[in-house]
Symmetry: C2
Subunit: 336 residues, 2 copies
């Protein structure tokens, strides 16, 4: 078996062999459960809440500096659960593969997904494989859905946001989109930019334990601007941020100024926007700086005391104030 | 808004508008939960088990006699949960849409998905939308993942299968694949064949309540042959079936003989293969015949008393016996 054929999606012998010989062994090491059409999962006895999420990944190219579509598919779904305060536990994997796709690359991508999930303590419990004719999908698209358990007492919600709360980002912004952009277009801006693609559930667990986190978002498509815009709208609070306080990798800063991009709108795959009560700020920053995924964390703003119009205001490096809204137009397609 | 553009997948203003104005209203009627990136779901207090499943739907054409890709995406995932004995409860929806896809058709497909889920008592709680450039996906692919609760005491497992058990199908075989094939190729075999695409969870609940069901499968890709082959392999029992006992729609029978297809290998989207203990056979058949989705149910075979080699034997209408294995080659691509 070297290339994926339509017969691998037929439900017949070759489908069965692909699942049994290629896919099953990669995920079977990851949690010890059988990979069935529907997985049966014991529910923990303590009462609590489930979190459920899904994302499809259509990134191009499928291998990029700092990751690949498999790692991204694991991280993205884990992070959507983690920012709800959930402990991610179970994941499904749906593959849509182009006829002719090399099985070697399929294995590479799935190993990457399986390893990332396993490191994060997440079991891949069920999956599905479809094959479509050449030209009807670009190499491989992956959907993952995830289930997590929200511990009793954890309730992260934009409604918790109050005037005076502090706005923190867990590190440099824009690394993922700039890494994909530069490898896609063959651009270079000094030191190579590497995607920040990472599973954040260990970090979020450590932050939530302080009791100081009001709400979190992982700023993917649309960037930190979209996350802040949503949080402001949902809480009806005005968020004020300082452009000069936003941590940036030097090459992302260079790339943005060369290409006329705003790093606030660039996608991240391993960063948090965190709203924290002011008393907890020091402890949160200390925990972030002490974690490998939060070393470059910074306070970038606060929730306004007076203005409750639900908008985001940016004080630029030159001292002007401007409104942060959602980006117009298409930006870079297929970054995740 | 008439056609989907890349900007609808950007994470910016148009993405937000698509979700808020088109997608959210369709699903918000369906369970009363907010459609968030990750949904928070209360866990029922009684101990029990969760079932989780996923499938991607890449069917072509997206509208076919008896259904569309939206209805299929709801039914397929509901049925994967139902055959485990689970009560399907929550669903995620991941869309991958081609640039230029008409928003009118998107709405039609999503309404169909939402209505089917609602009728089956399933809430669509979370979702994701990606847009890719024209030519990198064929119109729209949909992934759904589902969660169900397995009531205490329910344990449907091939290990339960014992010699003497009865093999039942819930109705005519092959309707879905023949309907797709005939509309794709413009073929006609007498009365129009309509896909059997339907949510089976009400029927399965009613059957499981008898206590007589050992194990069930929904025979989709690969047909009843693949389901029986898997059950025989997993239970290490030999299953003997009678070709003459298999219920067939007259047009499916005509199409199969004209095209040289075996209905046992054709995909279904609203049928069950059920293994039942012999004492429960009458009650199960009565309940099937009494349900709109089981009217043409029939006993098609039994589990052999002696032979435990884990194979499937078909007694043909002419009296010969042949081995049923998985289909070779590609069959019809993109039937689900």
């Amino acid at each position: 078996m070297e290339l994926i054929t339509l017969a691998h999606g037929s439900g017949g012998r070759l489908s069965h062999e692909l699942v049994e010989e290629v896919i099953y062994p990669i995920f079977n090491n990851n949690g010890g459960q059988d990979l069935l059409d529907a997985a049966v999962i014991p529910v923990p006895v303590q009462p609590g809440k489930l979190a459920m999420t899904t994302d499809s990944y259509v990134i191009s190219p499928i291998f990029f500096p700092g990751g690949d579509i498999g790692r991204l598919a694991a991280c993205g779904t884990i992070n959507d659960l983690a920012v709800c305060g959930a402990i991610p536990k179970f994941m499904s994997v749906g593959l849509i593969i182009e006829e002719g796709f090399p099985i070697r690359e399929l294995k590479q991508v799935l190993h990457s997904l399986a390893d990332t999930a396993a490191e994060a303590g997440v079991s891949v419990v069920t999956g599905d494989t479809k094959v479509v004719e050449k030209g009807n999908v670009d190499k491989i698209y992956i959907n993952t859905a995830g289930i997590g358990f929200i511990p009793p007492g954890v309730n992260l919600n934009p409604q918790n946001i109050k005037p005076g709360d502090v706005v923190i980002v867990s590190g440099t912004l824009g690394d993922h989109e700039m890494a994909v952009l530069s490898c896609r277009e063959g651009l270079s801006f000094g030191i190579e930019v590497v995607s920040d693609c990472a599973a954040l559930n260990d970090l979020t667990k450590c932050l939530v334990a302080t009791g100081a986190v009001k709400c979190m978002r992982d700023p993917t498509r649309g960037g930190a601007a979209a996350s802040l815009w949503e949080l402001a709208g949902q809480s009806k609070m005005t968020i004020e941020i300082q452009e000069a306080a936003i941590p940036l990798h030097p090459s992302v800063a260079a790339g943005c100024s060369m290409l006329g991009l705003d790093p606030l709108y660039l996608a991240n795959e391993g960063k948090l926007v965190i709203i924290v009560n002011p008393e907890g700020e020091k402890e949160i920053i200390a925990r972030l700086k002490n974690h490998s995924l939060g070393r470059n964390a910074a306070v970038i703003g606060k929730v306004a005391n007076q203005d409750r119009s639900g908008k985001v205001l940016l004080q630029t490096a030159l001292g002007a104030k401007r409104l942060v809204t959602l980006n117009e137009g298409e930006h870079l397609p297929r970054i995740c």
